[in-house]
Each structure stands twice: as structure tokens, then as C-alpha cells.
Symmetry: C2
Subunit: 518 residues, 2 copies
């Protein structure tokens, strides 16, 4: 199956259904396909062919979906860029992938001179939307007007669909190569869990450059559903769109879910059409999940655990496992069981399968698995050795084989010879009423090697001391796991993927030293 499959199928099955809603602009699948075929025609005229890479930098919009479809239609590869990156990071991704064309949203045209200067391979820049076009750039609408539609290149499903840069936490980002087939397999496996049923309407709340949101794109396309775009997530706007367009599917990081259900507008808006809410990409506290469940009682919640290297999907905690009756098993802290197209094992450092409750590295495999990292054969071989993707995540299974993630391999704190998994400490801290959000890191300690350090964002009008926090945690986790120091901050630094950038938090503590655990 190719990525464009869903568009063809929708064109044959429901051509006059609404495909995209972006502000006041609505387009049917027939209109979307006509635009896609013309954009592809323009790319072909620009001498873009099989194997060429076409990047995109922009906020969510209907143009983003057109980009995702037109590029494979023309036979080329996508390279969606994280708009939260610095210019240097964007330039790196463009050059590493040898992108020759860049689609730019109108909000990002100020970066054009710097990108052009930094990327010698970049031949063409196409501006999507907006009123002005920098010198030497092309306008998307003009290209659509000027070029005739072409036939879908019909790429082999094993061809690469795109290069997805991930993991800037340890040096340079790596370009994950995903085939068209792997993305479509994930899309089908997602549908197999229940969301994206007939008549679905999805809100692109998360950034469309992100592979997690691409799963929503893929799910909606496979089902012929409607894509509602919002440029960047703002809870009050998301709520308004959910009500106005009777949105049925949401996919969010926990921070978005929290901002939405805690927003003063929440009770004023009708969210009753939301059938499914998928959340994941970073840990969600049980308190937050509980709150969301009670505020959206008609919605099925899915906690998804995944990574770019697996076309975003690894495991899912099904709606049935969110039932209050399963609280005592700690199910809300579990990332569930592997999607039906995925296999999962947890192994010790010798590659031997761990028994229940024993922590080891999570290995996964399945049709969603990446082809490899671009230009990084050694890293590819290391990650995919023995045919399994080595996630670098630490976890364990309970007696029912539900998977619990305890930490990123590299985020584990070793203090006085004991392993402390940050997620566990964070869960404990998060239950304190003063705490809005938090992150736990290891900082240097002459006594213990590393010490547990908490960085906390307070709820408005609250205060917190280390003593009070330690007292609180003492009841929940072992003494050696409790924070030894506390740092209050206004906001945590987040990555584009919604993950706390612990490397940034650690930086000032570890300057000039080595943690010894990486």
C-alpha cells in the first residue's frame, strides 16, 4: 500500500465528502486530489523525480496534507521539519537529507534567506499561503494554477516515504527512513484498535510535522475521514473547533490534554462528539488521566507508546483498560500491550528475556520498523541488530504482560548503587497538590554519585519546600528515590515532540563532568 492509497480510495468511494477544513476553507476529496495532482505536476516540471527529497516547514494547514500527498504522487520523498528547531538544526536536516525543494508556510518566510544561504542543495522554495512571496520563491497557488495534473507515480510500497528527524537529545538528530508500507501498516493497525471509524472527523491538534500526528493523517486518509486543521495548539481554539466541526478523533500529548480539560472554556464547549482520544509521546500522570476521563465520559481513551523508528506505534492501553476498576492494578501507568502488528520483548543486558516485574530493555519488531537511519549505517546496525529495534527504553511487564516503562535507558539515575527510574519519582511528585508539572534528573553528588533532583512547576497560588515534598514522597516511594533537592521553575523546556528536554535541565549541573551512565 502506498501513502496516497487512501486519497485514491476516497476519490473512488466518497469524492464529495469534506477532506479538509482549514479556517473557513473547506475542500472535498475531489478538490484535494485535483490540487495534489497539480502540485505533483509542478514538482515534475521542476525536475523533481524519484528519490529526490522535498522538505516542509510550516504550521498545520491543509497545505501540509497536500504536501504529504503530492510529494509521493510525484515520486519523491518527504522531509517534514520541526518548526521548533533552531535555524541551525533545520539547516542540518535539509543538508543531511539533501533536500532540493522546500515548502514554507507563510509564517516562516523570514527564515528563507538563512536557509538558502545554509543549504546549497536547495534549488526551489515554494511558499504556501500568505500574501507576499520573497524574491526567488514560488507561490503554491500559482503553481497549482499553472500546471496540469499528472498521474500518481505509483511508487513501490517498499520505497521510502520520508525522512523523519528524531532524537536531538544526544547530539545530532538522526534521519529515520520509513517506507510507505510501514506507515500504512501502522495506519491499519491503529484502525484495528477502534478509532477512526466511518464518518470520523479528526482535529490536527499536534504538529503535523510530527510522526504521531502523521498517524492521525494516515488513519483519516485510510477511512476517508475529514481533517480539521489548527495552525498551532491553543486549548480555547481547539475546543471551539471540536464543537463547531463535531470532531470525533483527537490525538494529543498529555500537556495538550491537560491544557484542554483544565481550560475555563472546557465546560462551555460541546466535546460530546469526541469518540476517541489518543494520547502519548510522554508520561501522563494518573491524576490527569482520571480528570480527563471524568470530564469526557463518552470518549474512549487510548494511551499510545511509540517511537519514530517504529512508524510511531508500539503499544496501546485500550479504552477498556482505563476503567476505574483497574486502578488498583496500576493499569493507568501502563502503556498497554503491543499493537497487533507489533511484537515486543523485554531483555536483560545479555539479550535474555526478563521474567515479569524485572526491568530490561524493550525490543520491538513489526512492519512499522524503519528502513534505517539516513547516512548512519553503524547506528542503524546497532539499533536493528538481530532484527529487533532496540528502543533504549527500560520497562517491565506485569503478570498479564502489560508493559510499564520505567525510564529512558539514559535517564536512569544511579544513586548509592541503587537504580532510580525518573518516571516513578515524577509520578509520586505529580500527586502533590501544589505541583502542576515536574521533571526529575540526576545531578552530581560526591556522596552518592548521583542525587535525585526535582524540577517543579507550581500550580498558581501554591508554594512548596523540599521538606514538604520529601515528606509527601516518602509515603509513596522508597527513601533513596525521594528528591534530595528541589528547583522551582516557571516552565519546563519541551522538545517539539512534547518531551521534557532533560538534557537542558541537566546542563548547568554537569558542565565539565561526566555522568558515567550514558
Amino acid at each position: 500500500m502506498q501513502f496516497t492509497h487512501g486519497l485514491h480510495r476516497a476519490l473512488e468511494t466518497t469524492p464529495d465528502a469534506i477532506a479538509t477544513i482549514c479556517g473557513e476553507r473547506k475542500r472535498t476529496f475531489r478538490q484535494l486530489a485535483a490540487r495534489v495532482a497539480r502540485i505533483a505536476g509542478a514538482l515534475r516540471a521542476l525536475d523533481v523525480g524519484n528519490g529526490d527529497v522535498v522538505a516542509m516547514l510550516g504550521f498545520n494547514s491543509d497545505h501540509y496534507l497536500e504536501y504529504y500527498l503530492a510529494v509521493p504522487w510525484a515520486g519523491a520523498l518527504t522531509n517534514p521539519l520541526n518548526f521548533r528547531w533552531s535555524i541551525d538544526e533545520i539547516i542540518f536536516a535539509l543538508n543531511d537529507s539533501l533536500s532540493i525543494v522546500l515548502f514554507v508556510g507563510a509564517d516562516f518566510i523570514e527564515h528563507v534567506p538563512a536557509l538558502r544561504a545554509g543549504c546549497p542543495a536547495l534549488r526551489t522554495i515554494i511558499v504556501c499561503g500568505g500574501d507576499s512571496t520573497p524574491d526567488g520563491c514560488l507561490m503554491l497557488e500559482a503553481l497549482i494554477y499553472e500546471h496540469a495534473p499528472i498521474e500518481d507515480a505509483g511508487l513501490d510500497p517498499d520505497m521510502t516515504y520520508g525522512v523523519f528527524y528524531t532524537g536531538g537529545t544526544t547530539g545530532r538528530a538522526k534521519g529515520v527512513l520509513l517506507s510507505q508500507r510501514s506507515i500504512c501498516s501502522s495506519g491499519l493497525a491503529l484502525l484495528a484498535e477502534g478509532p477512526f471509524a466511518d464518518g470520523c472527523i479528526g482535529l490536527h491538534a499536534a504538529p503535523m510535522f510530527h510522526l504521531a500526528d502523521l498517524m492521525m493523517t494516515c488513519g483519516l486518509l485510510l477511512r476517508g475521514g475529514t481533517h480539521v486543521m489548527t495552525p498551532a495548539f491553543r486549548p480555547e481554539i481547539a475546543l471551539e473547533l471540536i464543537e463547531r466541526h463535531r470532531v470525533t478523533e483527537l490525538l494529543m500529548v498529555p500537556a495538550m490534554m491537560q491544557a484542554m480539560v483544565d481550560h475555563p472554556d472546557f465546560d462551555k464547549r460541546d466535546t460530546g462528539h469526541v469518540r476517541n482520544l489518543l494520547y502519548g509521546a510522554s508520561p501522563a500522570s494518573e491524576a490527569l488521566i482520571d480528570r480527563a476521563l471524568s470530564r469526557m465520559p463518552g470518549t474512549a481513551f487510548y494511551q499510545v507508546y511509540g517511537m519514530t523508528e517504529m512508524a510511531a506505534l508500539i503499544s496501546v492501553l485500550a479504552p477498556s483498560q482505563h476503567a476505574a476498576a483497574l486502578r488498583f492494578k496500576g493499569r493507568l501507568r501502563s502503556v498497554g500491550r503491543p499493537f497487533c502488528h507489533t511484537r515486543l520483548r523485554i531483555v536483560d543486558q545479555h539479550g535474555v528475556d526478563c521474567p515479569h516485574e524485572k526491568v530490561g530493555e524493550i525490543l520491538v519488531r513489526g512492519p512499522g520498523m524503519m528502513q534505517g537511519y539516513l547516512n548512519q549505517p553503524a547506528a542503524t546496525q546497532e539499533a536493528l541488530r538481530d532484527g529487533w529495534m532496540h528502543t533504549g527504553d527500560l520497562g517491565y511487564t506485569d503478570a498479564s504482560n502489560y508493559v510499564f516503562i520505567v525510564d529512558r535507558l539514559k535517564d536512569m539515575i544511579i544513586t548509592g548503587g541503587e537504580n532510580v527510574y525518573c518516571a516513578e519519582v515524577e509520578n509520586a511528585i505529580a500527586t502533590h497538590p501544589a505541583v502542576a508539572s515536574c521533571a526529575v534528573i540526576g545531578i552530581p553528588s560526591t556522596e552518592w554519585g548521583e542525587a535525585v533532583h526535582a524540577v517543579v512547576v507550581l500550580n498558581p497560588g501554591h508554594s512548596l519546600t523540599l521538606g514538604a515534598l520529601a515528606d509527601h514522597c516518602q509515603h509513596l516511594i522508597a527513601g533513596y528515590k525521594c528528591p534530595r533537592s528541589l528547583q522551582l521553575t516557571g516552565a519546563l523546556p519541551f522538545s517539539g515532540a512534547g518531551k521534557v528536554l532533560k538534557s537542558e535541565l541537566r546542563m548547568s549541573f554537569w558542565e565539565g563532568r561526566s555522568r558515567g551512565v550514558n
Copy 2:
């Protein structure tokens, strides 16, 4: 994805869940996997390797599932045989596929000498179950006992999973080659429609050799569900198993569905756990569907249209479309819309897309599409020209693009879910000394959808009864292909081109009815 994927996943996720129930025998996934790995070990010891074909002839049983899994585990190809075929037809399928090993159910050992005599390539015969083993045959249980388990061969997903013989328009059956990937894609697409959810328990009511039932096998495997076997369909036994094992999923041809809901035991048995009932493979009357819907109000009904060449799935009429409110649109006579992994077009004789309501040939494509017909490059090229599977079925779409099938281009009868190619029956009839010429058509049957009807012109001075004709055919073709009724006539109606005008022969039988309209 390989066919064995689901077994591995279940082994890793729910090893102690019940995998198979066959009579009083229950086995967990752990036990099933251990047996499969040992059967594969035995096959390897018998020098069965990559690319070899291993056939199976038997009623439904847990051994059938073991066969389906052990053969790819050993790196070989499956070849499930229709037990309704005549010995000649079975021998053809074994020889055409060059099968070197045959698994035989205990109920079929009487055929062993004839099969051995007719199939020089057949090296080994393995008897499954039963108390006695013919000379020179091996016993499955002994092989399991004697051989150590081996690792899964881990075949490439693009390798052929099996050869599935389907009736030939011009006499002989054709061997459809399906890759592991195509079958798994269909399994995922089936799950995406809603059936086979967590905790599913499926009854193998239809014959397991049939690709339609293999979809149930695949769906259950992907979800780690329980397989309940019944040797051959009998409504009272099916009902008892449904009650006893709290069966949640059924897949039936309409004749089975009718026999079940109309059975005197129906009201005495609890069918309340049946969540999903998939039916198809032959036309079902609206009256029957209505009756089934009203007798099983808690069950979701899916009408599935498919064919072997598409790994069984093409389109589905969703449960929502079975609502009484849609009767007026004739939705119950529609085969729905394409599965989300499948594309569908209806074209005229020039290959141009038909407008709504206009009848044309149904073309389909998607990841379920066959690799081709074994040893028949010309037929393959003809069927798959331009990248689309030419189904040979005639149909049209309504304004909402729901698909209606009106007739089959290929001269074929569907009786009780089995395809009968008229040419094959005519060839058999024509060898009778009393027959000067003949034509075979399908006529309406409340029990089987269609029944095989022979129209015969006698040689001068000869006579013929239905009994004598059926006796004659019995030796040449499968029982279900033999004529159920006989009509003697002075002359057949011919077209100007010299073709029998079957539409004229059918007219009196089908007046006021629509043939092949599901």
C-alpha cells in the same frame, strides 16, 4: 508481516490464553507454539525446505491450525485442499503444485492409496488424529514426540504463503499464489472494520481449507483470540458450541446462517455472546438477513464480498448499513464499500469508469492482491493487466458509491459459497454417451443461493435421468458441482456468434429476481 506473526505475538503477550478448542481438547498459545515448532522440526527433518509445498486434506480441527502455522515456520508453502473435490481434482491440485508432503485428517485416509498412486512427487503422508495409520504414512503425534522444536524460518513477507485452488472457467482449477503479506494485510483490514476485538472467540464453522475461513484464522491470530473448531458444519452442533464456549465471532456462508437461525434449537441456545457475524461468498436474500438480524439483535452483521485472488476481501457492508432505515435504499442487496486497504472501480468494456447505476466490470487492487496463478502466466497477465485485478464480476454503484453485483462475467455458479464454473460441469456432462450438447446454468435455490441446473440435448435414441447423469458426473467432479436438476430440450438457443444464450435459458427461472445480487 508473516503469517506466524500472530502466534509469536500471542506467545509474548498472552501465552497462557486458550488458543484452540477442539472437542474436549484445549491448548494454550504456549502449547500450540511448542507443537508448531516441533511439527516444523519434523518437516525440516523430512528435508522440507524453502519453496516446498505441503498440502492438507481434512475436516476442521486444531491440527489444521497447526498445519497452517508449522508449514511457514518450516519455510514451506501451504496448499489446503477442498475435501469436497473428487479424487481426480485433488490429484490435479497436488501435482500442479508439486506438493511433496500431505497432511491427511483421519477421516480421509481411505484416499491415501489413490493419492499416492496419482501423485509421483508426493514423498510423505502425515496422518492427523485417529487410531490407525495406513502403511507408509507417518503419525503427526509421533512426529511431535520425536522431533525437537526449531526456530521460525522467518520467511520474507513477500514470499508465497500458499497455493489456493479456485475453479477454472475453462476446465481446470487455477492455483492462486498469495504472499504472507497479502494475507496479513487482509487480516488487519478486517480488524479495522471492528470484528475480532480483544477477548474474541471465533467458531470455525466454514471449512478451514477455504480462504474465507482463513480470514477468521488470521483475524483471531492477530488478536490472540481463541479458535473453536467443529469438524464440519451442523447447525445444532454449531449452536451448542456457540453457547458452551461463549463464541463472539462467526463467519458463515448464507446457507449456514440460514440453517442456524431457522434451526429448532436456535431458541434453546444462548447466542448472546456473538458480537460479530460475517457472511458472504454467495447471495443472501433480504428475507434471510432480516430474519437473522431480528433473531440476533445484539450481533453486528457484516456482509463481505471477496475472492481468492484478493486474499478473500474486497468490500464490506458495515453493520450500520444493515439498519432497517436503510432498507428503502436497497442497502441489504449491496456488498457495501471497499475495505480500507482496497481500491475499487467499475469500468465499461473500454476500461472507462462507469457513472453511477451503469453496469460494468468490477476492478480491484490493494495489498491483498495475488502474486499470480501458478504455472499460468497468460491467465495471470490477463487477470492483473494494468495493475488491477479483473474480477469478472459485473456490478454498478449507487449515488453513494455502494457497490451492487448484478452478474458474473465468468460463466460461474455460486452454490453454498463454492464457485462452480459451468464449463467444468459441461465438460463432465458432455462425456456421457447420451449427451449431444448441453449447457449448465445456476437457478435460484433458497438453501444454496444458486443450484447447478443442466440443460441437455440428447443423442438420437438415447434417454437420460438426473440420477444417471449425477452418477456419471460424481466420478469426474466434486459432488457440489454435479447437477441438481435436469432439463431435456430439443435444441439450445445460440447467438449469432455460436455461443449458447444462457441468459435465455435462465430467464424463466429468474423472472422477477436478480441473480447474484447479494
